[in-house]
Symmetry: C2
Subunit: 364 residues, 2 copies
């Protein structure tokens, strides 16, 4: 991290990344660019970037890592325009909230050196003035390696994620988009639709008299920035459309239960949702001792994606990940730390089934 | 309030009403009944009721006021069974979360002496052990007078509401049910449906990695008690069915905007919801000086409903209401306190248009 990092887009997320990295022990040389010169100036003044470039192309010149933090719908065009300008050994990552199209565009421009990312942190505020170097502490940061992703590019990006205090979670890009449609994009549209229905009738005083904490909670996100949300939904249309169809089906089937006075069906539906909600946010069990795994891996694309998504599917929490490249080249050693004996054992079994010679060792 | 009050159902709401009234300067003689003898014993032990009756019929004997706090779907049958047992001069009110059917049943059993109510306060906890005499402080308490409601019954109930620290808001029962479907019952069903969709796929770890504060907020109420919600929705089926149809329509129309890539439509929808949400929960303007209104009113049913719903429609906040019965009988003086000169003027005009000789006076 001692080398040059380019941050393209110095709003809330880009500015927070810059502040977080600048605060680190080995603060890199950070150059920023934002089409809004005022935003870039604020980021510079706050110390989120060390210098401001006059263009994206200038910013990426000589960079070891490029972190693209612009609006997600502008990313594909930006990648294409930077393809020739990003140094051939630089790693490129992004923070877009949808990943399928972005990853396809990133890999088309930068090949194995592109690693899609999506930090799960934000704020109701926006812009460089609201940036916070601790925004990502204890947050999840989704990374979406594919069969093409290079191990070393992935490791560089996880290093940045760790430096910011976040935990990397690997997901397939399409799985990411489907899940994020369900836990973020659909709730956003539903919250807005509920506000729309509520204010369609009744005076403000009557509504306020009736609207309790529940309504406040459910509709809080309806106050979000519409431009941001148009960009987000534009970048994930298929998963959102699919989710809307499912939500409509769900509501229609509920309506049929009600119309048929089948109260047992209504109760089962509410009970299942209640259990799922309680379980989802229950305090996690103690993860157990950290267990180290290590294995020799061929130095080829796809290894990282295979290993990390295997861990994700098993629910094994990768607490640390390191790649030690062999001096002979052609292969390297992958070292993981997983929480809990049981998770580590399941992961070793899965990795062996996939052909890796994974070994387990206790970490002190 | 020095006379006997019967509380039927001594759970969270009934117990909290009892504790709140018992703490008052003129704490009445409170008798409680609950089909669950343990709940009644807890209420007695905590001082929410002074004594426990062996049956609902026994509890209402000699009562000046009966407050029905049982599950809303059981109310109509309970009213019918108590019709012969409630003293002929007693006022009856309830706390059910749906009002159309309850008010029809209440008026059929108790005529003009029935006043429907719905306190807008609750808690995620339930049962007598969670009861809190301050639960209703600063909350709205919807009352649903109709053309049949007697002025003195309404005044008695508002006295209880005020004694508990809540503000009475008058609404037509059907308007109440429509609004409450939109701000409470539909959000509940939508939150449960969103949880159901989210957990249909992905591991817990993946979901937790992606689900941010927004998802937590939107789905918090999905953890509510399913039995309670079946009872609530059962008691308001028409408005909920109507709301579900509207919500489905809304989502379908959104889906068509997305499928047609009509991003301007999506933006307008999100922007309208954002403005409405911000406006709804904006800090209210300073209400202005309290202004007293007074008028002679005929001592006939319907007067209260007419006056209070006129105020509600104008958005005028009735801060206090008192009825002074004329010694000659046949008419009385209605005294109101309204916040703000402008509201008071509008209300006086409206009341005069309705044939009342309303006068305005400054309150010190």
């Amino acid at each position: 991290m001692g080398r040059r990092v380019a941050i393209l887009g110095t709003g809330l997320i880009g500015g927070s990344i810059g502040l977080g990295l600048a605060a680190g022990r080995l603060g890199p040389d950070i150059v920023g660019y934002d089409p809004d010169a005022r935003a870039a100036a604020i980021a510079r003044k706050r110390g989120a970037v060390g210098s401001v470039a006059g263009s994206a192309a200038e910013a990426v010149t000589g960079a070891a890592m490029v972190i693209v933090c612009m609006p997600v719908d502008l990313m594909p065009a930006s990648f294409a325009s930077l393809e020739e300008r990003v140094p051939p050994d630089a790693v490129v990552t992004d923070v877009g909230s949808a990943k399928g199209g972005v990853v396809r565009a990133g890999e088309s421009a930068f090949g194995a050196r592109f690693v899609g990312g999506h930090p799960m942190a934000g704020s109701e505020r926006h812009g460089a003035a609201a940036a916070d170097g601790r925004l990502f502490e204890a947050a999840s940061w989704i990374l979406t390696p594919t069969a093409r992703t290079s191990s070393s590019a992935y490791a560089s990006v996880t290093e940045v994620v760790s430096a910011l205090g976040a935990t990397a979670v690997a997901l397939d890009p399409e799985v990411h988009d489907d899940l994020v449609a369900r836990v973020s994009h659909l709730p956003q549209l539903a919250a807005s639709a509920l506000v729309d229905l509520a204010v369609g009738t009744g005076s403000r005083k009557e509504l306020l008299g009736l609207a309790g904490a529940g309504f406040r909670d459910v509709t809080r996100i309806a106050a979000s920035n519409p431009d941001l949300w148009v960009a987000i939904i534009k970048s994930n249309p298929h998963a959102v459309l699919d989710g809307l169809v499912r939500l409509e089906d769900r509501l229609r089937s509920l309506r049929h239960s009600l119309a048929g006075e089948r109260w047992g069906e209504l109760r089962s539906f509410l009970e299942a949702a209640r259990s799922a909600r309680l379980e989802l946010f229950a305090k996690p069990e103690f993860g157990g001792h950290p267990i180290g795994l290590s294995m020799l891996v061929p130095d080829r694309p796809g290894v990282l994606a295979e290993v990390t998504t295997a861990a994700g599917e098993l629910g094994a929490n990768i607490e640390d990940l390191r790649i030690v490249h062999s001096t002979e080249g052609g292969r390297g050693r992958l070292e993981l730390v997983v929480a809990g004996e049981a998770s580590a054992t399941r992961l070793v079994e899965r990795l062996r089934a996939l052909g890796y010679r994974a070994e387990k060792e206790q970490v002190s």
